[in-house]
Assembly symmetry: C2
Homo-oligomer: 262 residues x 2
Amino acid sequence: MSADLAAVLGTLDPTSDRAVFRQIADHLRDAIEKGRLGENEQIPSETQLVEHYGVARMTVRHAIQVLQSEGLVLAEHGRGVFVRPRPPVRRLASDRFARRNRELGKAAFIAEAEQAGSAPSVDSIVIREERPSRDISSRLGTTRKVLARHRRYLLDDRPVETAISYIPLDIARGTAIEQPNTGPGGIYARLEESGHILDHFDEEVRARMPMPDETKALRLAPGVPVFHLIRTAYDTQGRAVEVCDTIMASDAYVLAYTLPAR
Amino acid sequence: MSADLAAVLGTLDPTSDRAVFRQIADHLRDAIEKGRLGENEQIPSETQLVEHYGVARMTVRHAIQVLQSEGLVLAEHGRGVFVRPRPPVRRLASDRFARRNRELGKAAFIAEAEQAGSAPSVDSIVIREERPSRDISSRLGTTRKVLARHRRYLLDDRPVETAISYIPLDIARGTAIEQPNTGPGGIYARLEESGHILDHFDEEVRARMPMPDETKALRLAPGVPVFHLIRTAYDTQGRAVEVCDTIMASDAYVLAYTLPAR
DNA sequence: CAGTGGTCTAGACCACTGC
DNA sequence: CAGTGGTCTAGACCACTGT
């Protein structure tokens, strides 16, 4: 056994001034990156590492925690620590809100997911009137109450995204936008039906570590950042007709954009 | 003193089944979010927290480490633990490679930074021929050697971005693209001069936690993810003429894109 | 120098998993 | 049940900062 571990991990360098827990983390990281520990494979247990390196358990735990915060491994209580697989990512193209896609009669998320062979679902739908935050109201250009549509998107029962859409009340009122099910084509189809022909969207992308509530809602593993998208929809009059505030599990997405060279 | 801490932090709930270190982290996080602890302010020392909560020092350290991995605080050896300021972010617009900007005679990074009132610089320039990775070669559509331009960008002496551009050798050879200083307008201006009129760029955006070398190169604080951008430039013939692989400190950037609705 | 955080030990008891 | 990781203690010594 001991020989096995030495082959995968190597031994400590007592002359190095690099902390022992970092050296152990380095060994494990290297083994993962070089493939000596493969995806979903269990790494040596804490007990094994303690014996192999001759250190205290807390030191081994510290090393493992470094890898966890790097998103490389996932600890499962009572089972072991496993190399995190790179989950299949969904590619979000920048034409995902183009009218030709909308005209298929499905909202963007559903249409895309089905095309990719996944089973999409939506839950936690809450629709209510809210007073917009400073940020939202400056984007919408109004401080009046707005309709807020909260929901969570799942792929094959894994939550991947939460979103809140804000729509000025004078636009939303009396339309299916106030209903949980907005009908074919989603809210963008309803906006166009009520005369707000969409012109373009502005999208801002940030990345950061999640807050605890986001970790919970998206069941995020330690070491997985979130994308924070804020998208504003403009109609052909130049009016902002919707702001969508989205938190996405960053290990589930690649965002793809086309930039003009002209 | 003890009264002060109680006002900022509150006390433990012994009936809760939430781990003590998590409760302490919750208290500190709440104090930061509610503003009882302001930006750059020092949080109570480990000693103070140990006395206030009546727990072991390792428990307090565990709590602080949670906040560190969330990017909320920054520990400075010998000084204390401080609430991380939200650094000023730079907004990257999706027209940043538009020709009208290029024609001002400056490369995109320099022009933008100066406009924002920052002092830009570039270092670690390495230019060499390389055999492209599988990924790069599939994007460029060639397995032949390419010219690789490695560099690091800094704003006011803070490193914010590393980038590697890959250009097919038949395009780069004999042009200023092979030189450290590519001249006015940067490599895109040189590409157009040599007949490769740019049509558009495809950009892929990922977010993840940094690898150790990236943490070093960008001097990243714990808990700060990176953006990983892969941008491909296409000329009007539809040929991929450059792939740029970029790692960015996510706390220094907001990416902004315009999406079509048509 | 006193005060801060960084590393490490050697235990203890608990909670979860799978046989 | 044995084996795994999760939490916590009560120390120790070290390295860095600022006065």
